[in-house]
């Protein structure tokens, strides 16, 4: 048998005794046995049946199990498990750095856009990140992972091919951490992006408009080869990208919603779909991961069509259950619906994601659908997506490089 010592603060849950016996070969089994016999104790100690509750510390023979293998820690006969209050707090709710405000974005229900009452539709509002997009998570994760591995240290400079949100996010994180940043972008990138990158202090190198985003990537790779001081995070092939969504976006959704039937996000690098998809699949192996993909040739902001010729190394197509092609017109219609019905002012890719999320939701009799909205509408104001006729806007989108 295993001896389990109960702290005074938890004794009401076990009839007042100081210790109880339990059995099991791992801590999970021991605590499970306790929870079966003392459900009130189980409620205090275990979270969602498969984690140690935040206000409890568990020691095994005087070692904190967090420094061992957590719930998977093997427990030998004759061991002693000690349950203790976990105390935490802190003097202020002020934030030491803007970087610390990344993530923990709101998950908002969209009752006016759910296609029928059996389905609940939720939106993860990534525009609430400090620079206004989901890419803040990716920029932070890529830079901090490279710092932790020693690959990135003071004196080096960052280089990334991007005319979009990733550049702006990298520029913010790089500024606060003291790294100079160069962004390589096609010369016909939208003026708002160029201005924002300049305002954040990034150095800009332009690649030929005719070569599009892939040309910017090629140009950046050439620059990085020539100068060893340059460190290129390269979000398309950087594992820190999906991991940021596994540990952040996906974990936050899983904390709020124990069961999700479908996850919908835009197909850019694939980071959100892979990372958040993996995390949510742990709670529901039948999760449908659906990608909103622009039609070939349609260059929706922040989304790209795989048929256009580039599959990011971090994207495992086998993990995508659905890929739904979305036209520019449908994206714009989605944007307008969001603003009209739910007062959400979102970026263009969110319009495409909403379109797909509603399509997926329509096909479900009941369930929970989560849509990830990558950014807010501010950077798209000059395109007048909200005021002009949808087909006219759709056509005009083809004149610019939106990726």
């Amino acid at each position: 048998m295993i001896r389990v010592r109960i702290p005074p603060t938890l004794r009401n849950e076990v009839g007042g005794v100081r210790e109880v016996e339990a059995s099991g070969g791992t801590l999970r089994e021991v605590l499970g046995d306790l929870a079966d016999r003392f459900p009130a104790l189980g409620n205090q100690v275990l979270e969602d049946g498969d984690g140690i509750a935040p206000f409890v510390n568990v020691y095994l023979d005087s070692e904190d199990v967090r420094t061992l293998q957590g719930l998977d820690t093997p427990v030998r006969e004759g061991s002693t498990v000690i349950l203790l209050p976990a105390m935490a707090g802190g003097e202020r709710t002020l934030t030491p750095s803007l970087i610390e405000t990344i993530g923990d974005t709101p998950l908002v229900e969209l009752p006016r856009l759910a296609p029928h009452p059996g389905v609940r539709l939720y939106a993860k509002l990534e525009g609430q990140n400090p620079t206004g997009s989901i890419k803040d998570r990716v920029a932070k994760a890529m830079i901090e992972t490279a710092e932790a591995s020693g690959e990135l240290e003071p004196g080096r400079e960052l280089l990334e091919p991007t005319s979009g949100n990733t550049g702006i996010s990298l520029a913010m994180v790089a500024k606060l951490k003291g790294y100079p940043l160069t962004c390589v972008l096609p010369e016909n990138a939208t003026s708002e992006r160029v201005k924002l990158l300049e305002l954040y202090g990034a150095k800009l190198v332009f690649s030929p408009a005719s070569e599009g985003s892939n040309g910017a990537v090629r140009h950046a790779l050439r620059l990085a080869e020539r100068d060893p001081r340059l460190f290129m995070p390269f979000q398309y092939a950087n594992e820190a990208n999906p991991r940021a969504h596994y540990e952040g976006t996906g974990a936050e959704i899983a904390d709020a919603l124990p069961h999700v039937d479908a996850l919908v996000a835009g197909l850019g690098t694939g980071g959100t779909l892979m990372g958040a998809g993996d995390r949510l699949r742990e709670n529901n192996p039948d999760l449908v991961v659906a990608a909103a993909e622009p039609l070939q040739g349609d260059l929706v902001y922040g989304l790209r069509s795989l048929a256009d010729g580039y599959v990011p190394p971090i994207l495992d197509l086998a993990k995508l259950d659905r890929k739904v092609l979305v036209t520019n017109e449908e994206s714009v219609e989605g944007l307008r619906l969001l603003l009209d019905r739910e007062a959400i002012f979102a970026g263009v890719s969110s319009g495409a994601v909403l379109h797909v999320a509603r399509k997926v939701a329509e096909e479900l009799e009941e369930g929970v659908v989560v849509a990830v909205f990558a950014d807010g509408g501010w950077k798209y104001l000059s395109a007048e997506f909200w005021a002009r006729p949808a087909d006219e806007v759709g056509e005009s989108m083809e004149d610019s490089v939106w990726w």
């Binding site: 005074p8 409890v56 935490a88 802190g90 003097e91 202020r92 709710t93």
Partner: protein
């Protein structure tokens, strides 16, 4: 609650030694009078947060007739529980909670329950 001068000195000494980070620990009391301070380790090692790590046996001193109070320092704000403190009270609801402000030198005792904070008279 009474915190005699020698226990108070131990609290201040530990809190100052941990600067710029918050300090934490447990105070054992008998009949409302503090007898001893057990310094803990702040696992968060942060000027804004604490996460108490302490010899597990200290938590069981209540079995020997002692009461316990959770202690932590606020390096630069008043000794009143912050929102973070209130949100993280967990199993310590309604129990003595002592904060030392290093900015003002004030020591204050509280109980936190159901999201509300009550002052405990302290001398």
């Amino acid at each position: 609650m009474v915190i005699p001068a020698e226990v108070r000195s131990a609290l201040v000494e530990h809190a100052e030694a941990e600067l710029p980070n918050e300090a934490c620990g447990l105070i054992s009391l008998r009949n409302g009078v503090a007898e001893r301070f057990f310094p803990g380790r702040n696992r968060s090692a942060s000027p804004y947060r604490f996460e108490l790590e302490i010899d597990p046996e200290v938590w069981f001193l209540e079995d020997e007739g002692n009461e316990l109070a959770v202690f932590h320092s606020h390096p630069s704000s008043p000794p009143r529980p912050s929102r973070t403190d209130v949100e993280n009270i967990g199993l310590w609801e309604g129990r003595p909670y002592v904060i030392l402000s290093l900015r003002t030198g004030e020591l204050a005792a509280w109980t936190i329950a159901d999201g509300s904070v009550d002052s405990l008279p302290l001398s």
